[in-house]
């Protein structure tokens, strides 16, 4: 027999835990589609997380805090855009530096916020009432219905990004920059601008994801709150084959793994450390599989991914 309460709990957690992953992964898809790999996801997320808590406390409105978190993520991504896109520095180095900066900065600035209560300020379920349903299915239905607005909006984001990338001229320009900046430039596309824009948009989404983590999931600020979620998002981009729509199933799968590790803690005689390794181990497995040559040809990574583009006088 399946324990319906446990199952309901699991589904509820999975839907919630998927939100930061969906937002951050979708953001990274945009950046990588334009040819820029941004390893600053973790840094942008954690800054968004802290700023989200701080602004919510000041303004008294979680929506304002959530959006502010997005802008905090965007701020760090702008640095990446400046260094890696405009100045053409190594994208990997710049991204890691930004993650380090985000982690350090939040440790320092977040001291006063650790454990501060957001009582009455956290996102509340859209439908706060009792759900009339038979006892067998009630926990499951509750788990799906009783979420705040952001959980449902986050499902729309990848769909909107898919439309942007595949159904608009701006999206085609973004993809052209990711496939061949030389061709894009010769056709009159401002590669630097488009890449900068994509990185910024990505950063905004990382920040939103981070803000939801503190506001919606944890409910307060703690040091190192992201604990690797940003890195998982980077891995999920490849797992989603750079397709925004596929970000949804892959994020839910990963969120399910994470939620399972919470739920199984204390239920079975396995160390909690081992369980919290699940997401990272699965990221490694996914990345290994995906980097097997035969798969890689088929999954379609952007050709110019990670290659800086600086307009040259002599093109060779």
């Amino acid at each position: 027999m399946i324990d319906t309460l446990l199952l309901g709990n699991f589904v509820f957690l999975t839907l919630k835990n998927a939100v930061p992953l969906i937002l951050a992964t979708t953001g990274e898809v945009i950046a990588e589609r334009s040819g820029v790999i941004n390893l600053g996801v973790e840094g942008s997320m954690i800054l968004g997380s802290l700023v989200g808590v701080a602004v919510t406390l000041i303004s008294g409105n979680f929506i304002i805090g959530f959006i502010a978190g997005g802008f905090a993520g965007l701020f760090l991504a702008l640095l990446h855009g400046l260094v890696a896109v405009v100045l053409g520095a190594n994208q990997i180095v710049s991204g890691i530096a930004i993650t380090m900066a985000g982690l350090g900065l939040t440790s320092l600035l977040g001291r006063g916020y650790v454990g501060k209560s957001l009582y009455g300020l956290r996102p509340t379920p859209l439908y706060p009432y009792e759900i009339p349903a038979p006892d067998e299915v009630k926990p499951l239905i509750t788990a799906i219905i009783k979420h705040d607005v952001i959980v449902y909006v986050s499902i729309l984001i990848p769909i909107m990004v898919a439309l942007l990338l595949f159904r608009t001229k701006l999206g085609i320009s973004i993809r052209a920059c990711g496939e061949s900046p030389v061709i894009a430039e010769s056709l009159g596309v401002n590669v630097t601008l488009i890449r900068f824009l994509s990185v910024s948009l990505g950063g905004f989404l990382y920040g939103l994801g981070g803000a939801y983590l503190s506001l919606g999931i944890v409910g307060t600020w703690v040091d190192n709150i992201t604990a690797g979620i940003g890195w998982i998002a980077v891995g999920l981009v490849a797992f989603s084959m750079w397709m925004p729509i596929r970000v949804l199933p892959s994020s839910y799968l990963m969120a399910a793994l994470i939620s399972m590790s919470y739920i199984l803690q204390g239920k079975i005689g396995v160390s909690s450390y081992f369980l919290s390794m699940i997401p990272y181990i699965s990221t490694v497995v996914i990345l290994t599989l995906i980097n097997v040559e035969r798969f890689r040809v088929k999954i379609g990574a952007p050709n110019a991914l990670g290659k800086p583009y600086v307009r040259e006088e002599r093109l060779g």
Binding site: K169, A184, S186, L187, G188, V189, L315
Partner: protein, 523 residues
């Protein structure tokens, strides 16, 4: 851009200065190298103008200046008599000047309509690319081009890609269409088709600048020819005011050398039947990047001292075949034997050891490392013989490289120049020099003279004949049918992944071969 673009096109045609484009005294220097010196070029409305010159004569540099990719160091550019500054392709396009580059500027993974939406100003930023489909169809019908807007570019042949480029130029409202070596990879049928489109454009009052190194081509289609040699204009007059001999002399900077190469009597020794097989391919099956069967049941043997030519239209499995032989692509089934060793699934290094030299089609991708110097590229395969105690003796390397630079007539600033700064023809000469110096037993050459001027091509061909006389077996895969016919002892036609037609050199007929290449032959 202070000048409104519409006023440009409304100038009356009877204007005395009826030049759509007028270039005066343009010079361009790359460091100490003079690429262009005081070049004048005048293109009239409704004219097909040929810019004729060898590789390295400065044609591409001039075109890049006109397209805003380089900035001239001196001189002026006028569009309809108004002086303009062209700082980017965007500027050029706004003046109605559009370049169709030698390698189609298309993104393989995108569809035709997506490709044609990139940078299209008339399309709003958030508007769907679907709206360009109608326009594509309209132009296709008008100019007799067949372009399917929904097909992914990777499925198109070279000439189809070029047609897509032409449609793009028209969509950008091109008044002056510049084509950089457009016929290099076309069959004669495809070339005729292209020329008929160009004539149609001319009839509509558009101008065409055809950049070419082929004398015959320039005389065939153009109204006016400007000859460029070593960065300077040597002649510019109506096409019918030239004689062919005169043109050749004007184009080739050192006519004596050219004649010397050309007059070499090729020695077509009949290959002795007991010559050993150096390369044998049996029932080879190879798949392409997307998993389709590209080479199906291909069998062939090359003997020492013979050249076997494989003719065919690009995209019939030649790329996959040559990569499989070179060890760059996995073989699904079949065998590859080089000098008696079965190397079917061995890597490139073992094949080199067995005596294989590979002259790849994609020079910059597989032939050289662009960011390394001429000298470093030269010893990529043989650095072992220059090292002592693990260190490379650069002095010895540079001596040898200088010798090759001279004997192969490679135009470069020196052995330490980065290879990517060389022109395509000179890179190819460098690769051939490197590959042939080890006295290989088997030479695999894929489009070895593609994009090379007459003299460089003749030099490369002569080197092949020399290698052949020294006992090498050569497999020549080429889209240039004339080259295959001239060089090969035996000719095979590759169509859809296998050999559909085989013939000895002296029995070959060009007409039959061309039909076989297009799959029109009932075997």
């Amino acid at each position: 851009m202070g000048v409104n673009q519409t006023t440009f096109f409304m100038k009356p045609h009877g204007d005395e200065n009826n030049y759509i484009l007028s270039v005066t005294g343009v010079s361009k220097f790359f460091g100490s190298i003079t690429a262009l010196r005081g070049v004048d070029l005048n293109i009239r409305v409704g004219e097909i103008h040929a810019l004729l010159g060898e590789n390295g004569a400065g044609k591409t540099t001039l075109v890049n200046i006109l397209y805003g990719l380089y900035r001239p160091d001196a001189g002026s550019i006028k569009v309809f008599g108004n002086e303009v500054r062209i700082n980017s392709p965007k500027d050029a396009i706004s003046y109605g000047i559009v370049l169709v580059q030698q390698h189609p500027m298309l993104i393989d993974k995108m569809t035709v309509s997506e490709n044609l939406s990139i940078g299209l100003r008339s399309l709003g930023y958030l508007k769907s690319p679907n709206s360009v489909k109608e326009v594509i169809k309209e132009y296709s019908i008008r100019y007799g081009i067949s372009v399917d807007p929904d097909i992914t570019v990777s499925n198109l042949s070279f000439s189809e890609r070029q047609e897509v480029e032409l449609v793009r130029a028209l969509m950008l409202n091109a008044q002056l269409l510049m084509l950089d070596e457009p016929t290099t990879m076309l069959t004669s049928y495809e070339r005729k088709k292209l020329f008929s489109v160009l004539r149609k454009l001319k009839d509509e009052g558009k101008s065409v600048l055809l950049i070419t190194h082929k004398v015959m081509e320039a005389t065939e289609i153009s109204d006016w020819i400007t000859v460029l040699r070593k960065g300077e204009v040597t002649a510019s007059r109506p096409t019918n005011k030239y004689t062919l001999d005169e043109l050749v002399k004007l184009v080739v900077s050192d006519a004596g050398v050219f004649n010397g190469v050309r007059s070499v009597k090729f020695d077509y020794n009949v290959v002795k039947s007991q010559s050993p097989e150096v390369l044998s391919i049996k029932d080879l099956i190879v798949v392409n990047d997307v998993g389709g069967v590209a080479v199906r049941g291909f069998s062939l043997a090359v003997k020492s001292g013979e050249i076997i030519g494989i003719a065919g239209v690009s995209g019939n499995g030649q790329k996959e075949l040559s990569e499989a032989i070179a060890g760059l692509r996995k073989v699904v089934d079949g065998r590859i034997v080089i000098c008696g060793q079965d190397l079917t699934n061995k890597g490139p290094k073992d094949r080199v050891k067995a005596g294989l030299a590979y002259i790849p089609e994609e020079r910059l991708k597989y032939g050289v490392v662009g960011d390394m110097s001429v000298a470093e590229n030269y010893i990529l395969k043989s650095y072992g013989q220059y090292s002592g105690f693990g260190l490379i003796n650069m002095r010895k390397v540079i001596e040898d490289v200088n010798e090759s630079i001279e004997s192969f007539n490679i135009i470069t600033r020196g052995p330490l120049e980065k290879v990517k700064a060389l022109s395509g023809g000179n890179i190819q000469k460098l690769i051939v020099a490197r590959e042939l110096r080890s006295n290989p037993k088997v030479i695999l050459a894929h489009n070895p003279t593609l994009g090379l001027d007459l003299r460089s091509a003749a030099l490369v061909r002569e080197l092949f004949l020399k290698a052949k006389a020294d006992g090498a077996g050569i497999l020549l895969i080429s889209e240039d049918l004339d080259e295959v016919i001239t060089l090969s002892d035996k000719i095979a036609v590759m169509y859809k992944g296998s050999i559909t037609y085989e013939i000895n050199k002296n029995e070959a007929s060009r007409d039959v071969l061309e039909r076989a290449m297009l799959g029109l032959l009932n075997v």
